[in-house]
Amino acid sequence: MSIKIKLYKYYLVIEKRYEASIFYNVLITLIAVAASFIIAGLIFEILGFSSIQIYGMIVNTFTSLGLMHETLLRSTPLILAALGLSIAFRMNFWNIGAEGQLYMGAFATTGVVLLHVYYGLIHPEFLLLVMLIVSFIVGSAWCLFPAFLKTKLGANEIITTLMMNYIAILFVNYLIYGPWRDPQGYGFPLSVNFPAYARPSLPFMSRGMLMLLWSLITASLVFFMFRYTLPGFEIRIVGRNPEAAKYAGLNVSSTIMLGSFLSGGLSGIAGMITVTTLIGRLTPDVSPGYGYMAIIVAYLAGLNPLLIIPAGILFGGLLTAGDAMQYALSMPKTGAQVLQALIFLFTLLGEFVRRYGISIVRSVDSNGRS
């Protein structure tokens, strides 16, 4: 099946294709990103901002060492949440709830820290490990509930996961304005500062590098899981063809539950990273929308765990640049969000191009000569 559109001497041929080469895939993604930069530049220009300055600041984010450090920090929650989403989306489980799962991970982490600070529970040496486990479990619980509703009752997970986001954010808000507010904090809605040993660090490595390493390890684990493990294989089967999965003797529901457990858990860890590494305390706006941006990151990377790292770093950079623009150009902070959403839209367009393959062919006469 192909569509031919004649343009002067050439044909624009749109054809269904099965597989594009990796080179072609990456090329399309790069073109999509470039196109969204151009369109965003136009929009900003119309609204009275200098797109040259904006591009300059974005480039600067990736060239200046100090900003790169900030970028790496901010990309980590994005990468972790996106890795979680890549698991859910591969199962065709539309987990839009990474934001809420991240907030719940942040909540759990803070809970562990407060237990330690206020009640002296948990030995400092185990604190990080306990935070890691607890944030994973709480984050995954926040995802398992919608997954349960989906597999047992057939309730639409898109809406339930979304609603759970709002609830999680309000819940964290309640804690921070209420019982968890720092008594010595002059009434600001902030928790106590986390002690230094509750914030991951290594003596010979900057926090940014440590976080990059952490992202790399997690991404490799997810990659390994998809590639080499039974559950990973089953997740891929269930997402692609649930009917064939049933024929092959798989239990589709329990696979979805397992995938959701991992998906929510990774977002929970993203929440832990946010409060421990980036902020150092619980605040009402833990996340500037990492959970939503992670959806774009996951799609930009084509749900490939390893490609999620560069995609996440790009978005971390955009966030950093967005802050810089806010100060230097007094541009609203949602500017970065406009750019990110445009990247999303163009990535989807790219998916169409990928699926159908558009080529331009010189028109050929009936004898086969051009």
Binding site: L47, A155, I159, T160, M164, L170, N173, P332, T334, Q337
Partner: protein
Amino acid sequence: MVVAEASTIEAAITGAVAAGTIYLLAATGEVLTERSGILNLGLEGIMMMGASASFIFTLCFNHLAGIVASMIIGALMALLLAFFSVTLRLNQVVTGLALTMFGTGLSGFICAPEVRSSIVRTINPAVPEEVALLNQAPRLLEVPIPILKDLPIVGRAFFTHNLIVYASIIFAVSMWVLLFKTKWGLSIRSVGENPAMADALGVNVYRIRYLSTMIGGALGGLAGAYIFLGYQPFWVEQITRGRGFIALALVILAAWSPLRAILVAYLFGGVEAFQYRVPLLGLGAQTPQFVLMLPYAVTILTLIFLSFSKVKRRISAPAALGTPYTREE
């Protein structure tokens, strides 16, 4: 005492209608869109953009301009969604999310005070800067309907609102007439159920899906305008607060009927209005967050309720909802 109670009930219903109108407008549009087989998850973003457009154009000119602009922007955003999902046949869930993110981001951007002020003053230089910088616009006035407003209880509750509230009821009823009493409506519903069959009988599936999505988008834009001009007195970022997504759940609860949507929308309007009444009752003053969670929690409960097999059997989504249509040779 009796009088006081009656007025409390009156006030509660009035609040429910005022809040419910947001849902009614959004859900009425979404019912049409989904009846044609398109799932518009971009509704939240469309409402956000509708609210922004109404803000800017009301500042520039007047309410009418604001309202018209919100509907146009809503339809345009929906056009984008239709292009992606009808013509390019991309996944409607992902496309809708992308649209919501875009609408949310752009709305926050153009309505940030400095940007807004420069846009407004470019369009209409006569607007003083301090007005454009203010996070407020003149509100729509209430237009009580004579005679009807004096009916006991329902009079004040239903007939002392602004014009958009009345229009929303008219829209919902006309949408019902359109869907169930006209030839077009039959075609729209058939396209949502079985596009291949409708196509075989000469129905233009693409045109119907485009139009239904765009009209749905226009109503979504209007819903956004209503939040800002008629319901909430001042501008905040994220002004829709997930109401677009709640409206999606309402459409299911309304079983894709605009008439039932009226009832369901006011029910949810009641939940929302309740939030503002709780502090007055002296409850939850310290913990407003739990009260604010109500609409979201109720939405989840609604979806659970709808999933029970007895209910599910009675309500069925348009069979082709969310599936792109390709004509096969």
